[in-house]
Symmetry: C2
């Protein structure tokens, strides 16, 4: 069982920085064991973050071209910083799996001339990363997946299968990043039975509202304290839950364009009109997020099968209001954190892209390319 060291990079829908994971991967792909060597989040400087916080279709061509380089350089420096922290050299790393920063994700299609084009757009050039680190870099996983007939998201299911699928227990891997997504892993460890989809909002509504309502002084609801202090408003929760995405059947994926700034701002304005306090507003958005996640799992998973364990990762595990809310609404499943089964809640997605990078280096060749590149399920 030869092992390689790989690096994963992901900059999520919250657009606030990049997660780097350095991992050791052994075993035959995709039946691998993954050991985290080092994980680190490197925040974007303020000027860059500010330029990233707008709807994807408002970026100009010059901004896209510049961002592709600025982020490519930033990601390369992040890799070199992470390597220095664990005393590794670029030569020790077999591959970088680079997710990139998503600006647009439109698997439903963009009208373009006579066609409707399914597309996704990530910036943070792999060529730039490769030159500045000297490490082979694989990018554009979401584009490859869409070209192969997938939704382009979520991409993590194959990684969840590798590290979490069990012979005896049906598990659901739930990641609560900006967007929340699940991978359903029916017992028996059969890769053809794996499913994954985006539930809807993760921390994106809450984070945006905290940042907006505190004038940028806070960037998220630390420890869920605001949510705990406030009182959720049932009317506004049902308005949020009437978002048509939540009713759509999987496979499906979503992003910033559906649950980001525009959507959350409309909700905030409605609540402000009714004179609600900041704590009440955050509490409302937090409960709506919990309902969106729990409701998705109930309607699209639990109606078809019993689930033994839900393993939660991503920033959302640090919000006790979200965790308690999920436990209360899904009492028939055991709710665990990534750490309870030996995986890092904070670095799981970055680890997944290191793993996908190793996989992509092995795939390539010949006739099966379309089947092999299709990662979303």
């Amino acid at each position: 069982m030869k092992s390689v060291i790989a690096c994963g990079l992901i900059s999520g829908t919250s657009r606030d920085g990049v997660d780097v994971a350095i991992v050791e991967i052994s075993g035959r792909y995709p039946h691998c064991r993954i050991k985290l060597i080092h994980g680190e989040t490197i925040p974007f400087p303020r000027w860059l973050r500010r330029r990233l916080l707008k709807p994807g279709d408002e970026f100009t061509a010059l901004e896209i071209a510049a961002l592709n380089f600025v982020l490519g350089e930033f990601f390369a420096q992040a890799v070199l910083k992470a390597l220095a922290a664990c005393r590794l050299k670029p030569q020790d790393i077999a591959v970088i799996g680079n997710h990139g920063q998503t600006l647009l994700h439109r698997p439903g299609g963009i009208r373009f001339g006579p066609r409707k084009v399914r597309a996704t757009l990530q910036v943070g050039s792999g060529a730039v990363i490769e030159v500045l680190t000297g490490i082979p870099t694989v990018s554009d996983f979401r584009s490859a997946d869409i070209a192969a007939g997938g939704e382009g998201a979520p991409l993590v299911p194959i990684f969840d299968f590798a590290i979490l699928a069990s012979r005896t227990k049906t598990r659901v891997a739930l990641n609560i990043g900006g967007i929340s997504n699940v991978t359903v892993l029916p017992k028996g460890r059969d890769i053809t039975k794996v499913e994954g989809f985006d539930c809807g909002p993760g921390n994106c509504m809450i984070d945006f509202a905290v940042r907006y309502l505190t004038g940028g002084r806070k960037s998220y609801d630390v420890g869920g304290r605001l949510a705990q202090k406030g009182k959720p408003d049932a009317d506004e929760i049902s308005r949020i839950l009437s978002h048509p995405y939540l009713d759509r059947k999987p496979p499906k994926s979503t992003g910033w364009n559906e649950f980001g700034e525009h959507f959350t701002l409309r909700s905030i304005r409605r609540m402000q009109k009714r004179g609600m306090s900041i704590a009440d507003m955050i509490s409302t958005l937090t409960q709506a997020t919990v309902e969106a996640i729990a409701g998705s799992i109930r309607r699209f998973v639990l109606r078809r099968m019993a689930v033994d364990e839900i393993i939660v990762t991503g920033g959302g595990v640090h919000n006790p209001v979200i965790m308690a809310g999920l436990a209360q609404r899904l009492p028939e499943c055991r709710l665990l954190r990534g750490e309870d089964v030996g995986i890092s809640s904070d670095w799981k997605e970055a680890c997944a892209f290191a793993f996908l990078g190793v996989g992509a280096k092995k795939l390539h060749r010949g006739v099966g390319a379309k089947k092999l590149h299709r990662v979303s399920r």
Copy 2:
């Protein structure tokens, strides 16, 4: 001397289609022998071409995302069509070198927040090509070159060196595509002495004017017939030649944004005001192009060294007015076409990207990455 078969793809500044070359490459990189197996130009459908013909900074984010997929698919189909024409299978091809369609090329920098960012932007996703053909695909050569400290253009010099550098003759390789560029290959076959730069306009002004003035009925001046019929206007020629790019010292590179639609349209309007005929206008633009090329070679090459041969490739070789004009203005050099020394005038650039693709697959690793990825000189 093991040989591999590789594929090169380039869609140039004229934005009218893609050139595909299938080549056999043998020898140790970069000291290779290159044999053209098949070359083909596949024109874009009209609706797509129309959408490509505007200044790069006017593309929206949605258009960029859609084009990345539409062109990725188009390029993949072009590769499969070319393979079928020479009875090869995807498995026979070691690598695709994908230039992509340039939308923006700003090695001088884009103002972005507190920074000036040197950038270039090509669309036509390598990930999409790779999935749809099953062939490993290398893209973003220009980005890699800029990240490594180059100008991002021209990239062909290393290829010119491989196939044209001579022990006994000083040669200049001149390619007249949309933009014209030269590679200077001093005798002695010393790779450190190679230089390359973009002269300025190639066929771009002429082609745009023909298309514009014929309402799209013609797309270029077939056989230089309009230029031959008309009478060039000396005043307008000197106005065009006063473009500041032409005075800048190499290394330098340019593109559509400097000599494309906007620039040519201003020139056409001036000539129309003076009541010039279509033939006179095309004749004027053709002579200005000849002067721009010959002037660059004289000022930036011949002042420093004697040149034995100028080897011309690209669409410009088919325009006898351009060829005769160059021969007249550069009498001390022997003017040859690519075919005279065994290389294809029409497919040279596509061959070069097959060659660069093979090189990039070998480079990658470790400390020397920055040096190795720097291809422009």
